[in-house]
Homo-oligomer: 501 residues x 2
């Protein structure tokens, strides 16, 4: 192959993987509310076929030639080509190094493990899930070792989700964050202030709340023509179906936290949607890493959505739409939405304690893969850490170690993304206010275009064409740094709880 | 290849086409309410890719060998293998004989033609659509001639939709039907009876009507686990997504005709769902022809759903669900649902006049492709036939020749299916009452299982493994015969309009 043919062959892999990913995305949405029970066995076959087809793209005669050439010449003519080469070689070596039998067995076990997890949750008994968790953790470890035999398997797994991040950097920043959050929690306790957030439990009409939440997402910048909504799901998620097609899936309910869920998913979706044309054509559209994806979602949800400026902006409209809030002062609503409290459940946690939930899981995974902890010890270790970091002990396994589906297989080594996203958000928040000193005024005025433009310019437009660390460098001259997040939390919650008047 | 390898290679084509069809089916549903405007250009590429992949299955070295061998040996070890061979050779010769450029141009023109058709409808002006219709009709003709250079192109097109049916047989039976229906319409006019069907225009709560309609479909035999509903569409349709996955798409509204629409689609879906295991594994699941598919839908909708026995069965429940009907006598509702009236719109037509709408279109297509009619003459010919057969003349082109989307390209040569379906239903109705003499009692009692079992046994289980004519032979010793349909109509409407007390 000459240079031009090589370029075309490489591009072809990304074009066709893009098509397969788009199809998988639509089938993924269809699994919720579309796919009937009896259709599942056939769908399993269709999905397996798609996986095989995608794999085959990396083992054509052309792909063999590309591999040989690019291993020696990994730098392309521009960032986009370099990113293609890097992603191509990474995927090819994944397929090459991980024996297909091992991967297939892992996939089979994942399905069994999911079933056992559901049963264990019903019975509130970790012992039911334990043998399956042992299997999937062991298989995941073998996969990591197959990829990089001489490295810490956990580091390898984290790198698959948050490529380029050093696990020691993560551990260091997470440690700093834990200490800082413990200090903030102490100040909150010392404030003696008790926030009543019972208003969040009072459900309004679900259809109306969904309509209102969609209007908020639209105002921020997520237009229906960019993707739209699927409401037949249990868990909220977003899917990048094409370069200009990023969908939101979310269940409807009448509680006001639905607004935050929809804003969160609109952050994911706008990130998935906003790759620039060159990146899109190269087949590199979408988000670069778990952490960056989560960061964009949580920026819209938290930094914007849960800010006092934002609540001030939307509150009159909210009261108009839901007269039940007419007698609730705006500040009371804002405080309810930001009450800090130790609870056992991660997904219900506030901005402060949320990171402790994540850090607990990250530490447990890290210790397991370092051989310092067995699955048999996992429940006690979980409960002990909750007691140590959050001051509460789960009453049963369902509200404890069985609460997340991540450890059924597919998302082992994923949890760090959530807190990495928050750390990125702290850094983004610092950077954006340098360029837009009137950030808070913009939010309060409901003028989001300059903010969205900034995010697009610095982050979103690059899709998967730069690594997470390269992306960080576009708006910060530091590496991973938890301090801005801590500063943000201390400032915001200091104002709420009174040590920062 | 030895015999076993050949079998495996043939099976592989059907297995993989099945996967591609399943994916296309889900993408098709996604186009309604899922796919956002901005996602369309990428979806066009994904669809094109899927078409290419499907085509490529027929041009592997193995496929070449299969073609050479099976052309000489078209009979398999059993019906299913014979059906695979027949379908394989047919599809291969389609790809071989129709130049890809011609087919691609046809597909491009179809899209343009659809846009022009929409504009023409807005403007109520056939002249806007005419040049596009000329193009797609001409291209469709060229495709037919590419397939069978020495045959009537219309016969070839009809054979693509309703394989094995002789166009002369269709013409003869349609002629017989037209005369019979004209006679029935005369008797209706002579009866002097005027049915008031304004009740059908009074909308109830759409959500409640949908719930009620789904319960009816469930009672007849379409369980949610077999497919389920997508309500984000404009036109109703059904999709066979897998051997045990047949979905219904329909818009919700509050008028009682929604019950009939859902019953209609449940007929399509049960047919698509009910292939036996051997047929399903061979990749031949689904319906054999346009006519048989339409026949199954209309059997559930009309022969069951619009019968007096069925209305008697459901009416107490209907009144309970919608108190607005409490003062409407059952007979009045039944009559409203079966009022015979000449209208310009096919999809609003009753069981009697419906076939005249179809026959008009069939005759116009037939005459065009026989060179007896030009597109320039088409509007006048349309209006004249409406005047002749139905006694009314469309007031504008939108309620006339522009009413159906079929002639924008994709469904030229398709209309006959609708009336073929009705003719089959007449024959099925005769046959099923021989085996189940208490057919009417079963319907009135809401005992549908024996009826569904009969349909499954005689028709549905065979999927695409037998031709339409072979299927007819399973329950009738005659060829295509419109007489049973005429007998059914004369009997049913004679009871309603009084000449058959």
């Amino acid at each position: 192959m000459n240079a031009q043919e090589r370029k075309a062959a490489l591009q072809n892999v990304f074009t066709l993987s893009g098509y397969y990913n788009s199809i998988s995305g639509v089938l993924g949405i269809d699994q919720w509310g579309g796919l009937p029970d009896e259709g599942v066995p056939y769908r399993v076959k269709v999905n397996g076929f798609l996986d095989d087809q995608k794999r085959a793209l990396y083992f054509t005669p052309e792909a063999d030639e590309l591999t040989a050439y690019y291993k020696e010449n990994p730098i392309g003519e521009n960032d986009i080509e370099t990113a293609q080469i890097r992603a191509f070689l990474k995927q090819r070596s994944f397929y090459e190094d991980v024996p297909k039998d091992l991967f297939d067995e892992f996939n089979r076990k994942r399905v069994e493990s999911m079933t056992a997890w559901k049963q264990a949750r019903e019975a509130q008994d970790f012992d039911i899930f334990k043998p399956y968790m042992k299997d999937v953790f062991e298989l995941r470890k073998q996969i990591a070792l197959a990829l990089r035999p001489n490295e810490d398997p956990f580091a390898t797994m984290v790198d698959l989700v948050d490529e380029g991040l050093d696990i020691n950097d993560i551990s260091r920043e997470f440690g700093k964050l834990r200490e800082g959050i413990v200090a903030i929690r102490r100040k909150i306790e010392e404030s003696g202030m008790e926030i009543d957030n019972s208003i969040l439990q009072q459900a309004q009409n679900a259809e109306d709340m969904m309509t209102f939440a969609k209007a908020l997402a639209r105002e921020v910048g997520y237009k229906d023509s960019m993707g739209g909504y699927n409401e037949k799901v249990i868990h909220a998620f977003s899917s990048t179906i094409g370069p200009k097609d990023a969908r939101i899936s979310t269940a409807k309910h009448g509680r006001p936290t639905l607004m935050m869920t929809v804003l969160h998913e609109s952050g994911h979706a706008m990130y998935g949607y906003s790759s620039n044309d060159a990146v899109a054509e190269a087949g590199l559209f979408g988000g670069i890493s778990g952490g960056f994806h989560e960061g964009q979602a949580r920026f819209i949800e938290n930094i914007i959505g849960r800010s006092s400026a934002y609540i001030h902006h939307i509150y009159p409209k909210l009261v108009e739409a839901f007269p039940a809030y007419a007698n609730i002062p705006e500040e009371k609503f804002y405080h309810a939405l930001n009450k800090v409290a130790s609870t056992c459940k991660r997904i219900e946690a506030d901005e402060v304690t949320y990171n402790l939930h994540v850090i607990i899981r990250f530490e447990l995974e890290r210790d397991y893969f370092a051989g310092k902890l067995t699955i048999d010890q996992m429940r006690d270790a979980w409960n002990d850490k909750y007691e140590e970091y959050l001051g509460i002990r789960p009453q049963n396994d369902t509200e404890g170690i069985l609460q997340d589906m991540h450890w059924t297989g597919s998302w082992i080594g994923y949890f760090q993304s959530y807190t990495l996203g928050n750390i990125y958000d702290g850094m983004i928040y610092n950077a954006i206010r340098k360029d837009l000193p009137n950030f808070t005024d913009l939010v309060e005025a409901g003028t989001f275009a300059p903010i969205i433009d900034w995010l697009t310019d610095k982050i979103w437009q690059y899709g998967k064409s730069v690594t997470a660390m390269e992306l960080l460098a576009k708006f910060s001259d530091k590496g991973l740094d938890a301090q801005p997040l801590l500063d943000y939390l201390d400032d915001k919650f200091g104002k709420i709880y009174g040590w920062n008047k």
